[in-house]
């Protein structure tokens, strides 16, 4: 990937996301390692991390549920989907269940406006949601984890 760009720094954001997907979050050790490899200071790396909403310094659940409540989803019940998730999981925005299985997040537009309301679980899109559909989806992920 390094050969794709005239400056080394360009790989920073994709690298951070790759590391986060592997480790689960951007730990102090991970940041130090990335900084060394991209030849930046840790401060410069943290400066970039704090800008991008997908990059996180805290561990998340195995499945990160991101419910869109932006206008198009809101108009079709996105907020009640988010409330339903809160109730079902017993956690709030940016929190993780005690068993580390699920974390929950209210997010801005994920580009599923014509199929609203929608959410992403990790990188998977789930669209045209209803509370019942959400129940099935979450149960499926729980099963998947137990297998």
């Amino acid at each position: 990937m390094l050969t794709h760009y005239p400056v080394k720094r360009s790989i920073l954001v994709p690298t951070l996301l790759f590391v986060q997907d592997e480790v689960g979050y951007l730990s102090d050790e991970a940041i130090a390692e990335v900084a060394k490899r991209v030849e930046l200071t840790e401060l410069e790396v943290r400066n970039v991390i704090s800008y991008y909403s997908m990059l996180t310094l805290k561990p998340k659940g195995k499945f990160n549920i991101q419910v869109c409540t932006n206008i198009c989803c809101m108009l079709r019940g996105g907020e009640s989907i988010f409330d339903h998730c809160k109730k079902k999981l017993g956690i709030g925005h940016k929190m993780t269940t005690p068993d580390g299985m699920f974390s929950l997040e209210e997010v801005e537009c994920i580009g599923a406006c014509s199929w609203a309301p929608a959410m992403q679980v990790n990188y998977d899109f789930h669209e045209n949601l209803t509370p019942e559909k959400v129940d099935d989806i979450l149960d499926n992920y729980r099963h998947k984890a137990q297998q």
Partner: protein, 442 residues
């Protein structure tokens, strides 16, 4: 992944390969793939640009700038390498079209990037895909690898003696990065903070080199223009608004979805015919015609041609093609609040009118929706938003201010309905707790 829809009124140019497996390179070649770029290789740069100028193709990312004109701004001679940058950081609320192009027709984007490169004399193109669209990066990675394997990319493309490389680059969640100069910052591995202009990207852009930045849909429109001619493409739309575009219908509709229609298509027809009408038999209240940043249109303003010039004349914008339909039961204060909450979240914080303005607007609107609005706040919201216009580094400040101003202006009565202790008339239960400020003003 996302469901495809169809309507007899559609004119399929960009979407003609949707649902036909064209992400596979063999299938793409069967469906006239990579013919336009081979034609372009036999043309000189000015001829390519003139063809695109003749098509009157305008940028599909939001600003609607003439694509051929944009390409012609790139200087012929440059001591630094030139670049083509495809903007796939689609994040404008209401917009979900680039996603379909990248999923169903990734090679058309690659082809568009190569043609743009030939037109401006670049040898490298980057396709920036927002981080949330991970599955599309996987599709794009394979498409690029396949194109390299066939000799369509890399050294000596199509045996022409010319070289061209294309790489994809992933983002990590930031609306602001969709702004062209912030996009370049992000690709350079920095925070996505906009650059001051001038110099414009066509002169000093990515890594300091002259750069053309186009939206995914814009670049996907280029191959058919070269194959069938600029004049043919222009004739599909209205004067100065050539061709077709993808309209993302969302909100309170019976048949939401992404439909390809000519520019100048009537908005009421779009809602009632193509979109199947407002859901549940409700009446239409308002439409946001081109993504959340566009000033809103009231139902009686919706008998209008959907092209850049007609909408601008009506005080709104065609924007990125995200058409959001609101029925009669929508609370406009809540809609304004949710819109501004988004911009408050996405403001990069670099310049003060946007960082502070969006925050104040959000706080004022929150207070209104909670039933604690003060009469003078209606004018204050208006005043605040108007003072953000044109006073920010990039267009995000305007994008936040414009819808707010239009909603306050056109639905002032609804703000008055929320005054002093009256909870939201559309959803009284949504306000569970009155704000302390109310007690203080009583």
């Amino acid at each position: 992944m996302a469901d495809l829809v169809s309507h007899p009124a559609e004119v399929k140019v960009i979407s003609k390969r949707f649902g036909k497996g064209a992400a596979n390179i063999d299938r793409y070649l069967e469906l006239d793939g990579y013919k336009a770029v081979q034609k372009a290789l036999g043309m000189d740069a000015d001829a390519i640009i003139n063809e695109v100028k003749a098509s009157s193709l305008r940028g599909r990312g939001g600003a609607g700038f003439a694509t051929g004109m944009k390409w012609s701004f790139v200087p012929k001679q440059s001591s630094k390498p030139k670049y083509v940058l495809c903007n796939g950081d689609e994040s404008e609320p209401g917009t979900c079209k680039d996603r379909l192009i990248l999923e169903h027709d990734p090679h058309s984007v690659i082809e568009g990037v190569i043609i743009a490169g030939l037109a401006i004399g670049a040898k490298i193109g980057y396709i920036y895909i927002r981080g949330e669209y991970r599955y599309l990066s996987v599709i794009m990675e394979k498409a690029i690898a396949d194109a390299y394997a066939r000799g369509f990319l890399g050294k000596n493309i199509f045996g022409s003696g010319r070289d061209f490389d294309v790489f994809w680059h992933g983002g990590a969640g930031a609306y602001e990065v969709g702004e062209e100069s912030a996009l370049m910052e992000s690709l350079e591995g920095k925070r996505g903070i906009p650059r001051i202009k001038p110099p414009f990207p066509a002169v000093v852009g990515l890594f300091g080199g002259p750069t053309v930045i186009n939206n995914v849909e814009t670049l996907a429109s280029v191959p058919p223009i070269l194959l069938q001619g600029g004049e043919w493409y222009a004739s599909l739309g209205t004067p100065k608004n050539g061709g077709t575009r993808l309209y993302c219908l969302s909100g309170h509709l019976n048949n939401p979805g992404v439909y390809e229609l000519p520019l100048g298509f009537n908005l009421l027809r779009l809602v009632n015919e193509v979109g199947g009408g407002v859901w549940k038999g409700h009446k239409l209240k308002a439409v946001t015609p081109g993504g959340s940043s566009c000033p809103i249109l009231k139902a009686d303003e919706c008998d209008i041609a959907m092209d850049f010039d007609a909408l601008m004349k009506a005080g709104s914008m065609l924007g990125s093609g995200g058409v959001v339909i609101l029925d009669e039961q929508t609370c406009m204060v809540k809609y304004a609040l949710r819109t501004i909450k988004f911009y408050q979240h996405e403001s990069c914080g670099w310049c003060i009118p946007c960082r502070e303005g969006t925050d104040w607007l959000m706080k004022s609107l929150k207070r209104f929706h909670a039933g604690a609005g003060l009469k003078k706040d209606i004018d204050n919201i208006q005043y605040l938003a108007e003072n953000m216009l044109g006073r920010t580094f990039c267009a995000l400040g305007d994008a936040a201010a414009m819808p707010t101003i239009s909603i306050v202006k056109k639905f002032r009565n609804e703000f008055e309905d929320h005054l002093e202790g009256r909870p939201c008339p559309f959803d009284p239960e949504s306000v569970t707790q009155q704000l302390p400020v109310l007690a203080a003003t009583r």
